[in-house]
Amino acid sequence: GAGVSQTPSNKVTEKGKYVELRCDPISGHTALYWYRQSLGQGPEFLIYFQGTGAADDSGLPNDRFFAVRPEGSVSTLKIQRTERGDSAVYLCASSLDVSNTGELFFGEGSRLTVL
């Protein structure tokens, strides 16, 4: 498709389980971003990639969260030992490159619910 694709759109899991969320950016976009949006709040930055490397992971809340982008395209956000507080919508965005200031293209998000 033409836009940023995120799967799954909804994920319900139990506390303590492992979860993977996938993002397929717009073709040709070298920069990829993960944000988290809790209910009633604006998106919060988690991590961004330029190519295959994580250029800034300062927003990851703790070491249970990890993200990869091995081939510079698709990215996976991994959450270990999920907690109820991890429940949120996880947003992925891409841009042509990091100098294309502000032109982020967002996916529809993956809604994670931890019971």
């Binding site: 009633g40 709040q41 604006g42 919060e44 930055f45 961004y48 982020l104 996916g107 529809e108």
Partner: protein, 114 residues
């Protein structure tokens, strides 16, 4: 560090009436400013941005925003809203040297009534 405050969490407005959404930011360095819109069941999309130059910025769908450095504000306006403008609007800032790492406000939900 920078932060963004959207003073109104919800704004009800009648169709064809004007609307203003308020955004204030704090930052110790120069910033770039943005408004994103999220329509129901869709991803966020860029409405407009201020990088430099003219402080009045025009965006898509008839929206405009004015950058006021002395008041550290970037309020969004539309002179006449349509039902289709019902959405959530987010103000965001970034530092140019930080790439496209955006700091978002909490959002303002606009409900346009007929």
């Amino acid at each position: 560090a920078q932060s963004v405050t959207q003073l109104d969490s919800q704004v009800p407005v009648f169709e064809e009436a004007p609307v203003e959404l308020r955004c204030n930011y704090s930052s110790s360095v120069s910033v770039y400013l943005f408004w994103y819109v999220q329509y129901p069941n869709q991803g966020l999309q860029l409405l407009l941005k201020y990088l430099s130059g003219s402080t009045l910025v025009k965006g898509i769908n008839g929206f405009e925003a004015e950058f006021n450095k002395s008041q550290t504000s970037f309020h969004l306006r539309k002179p006449s809203v349509h039902i289709s403008d019902t959405a959530e609007y987010f103000c965001a800032v970034s530092r140019g040297a930080a790439g496209n790492k955006l700091t978002f406000g909490g959002g303002t939900r606009v409900l346009v009534k007929p």
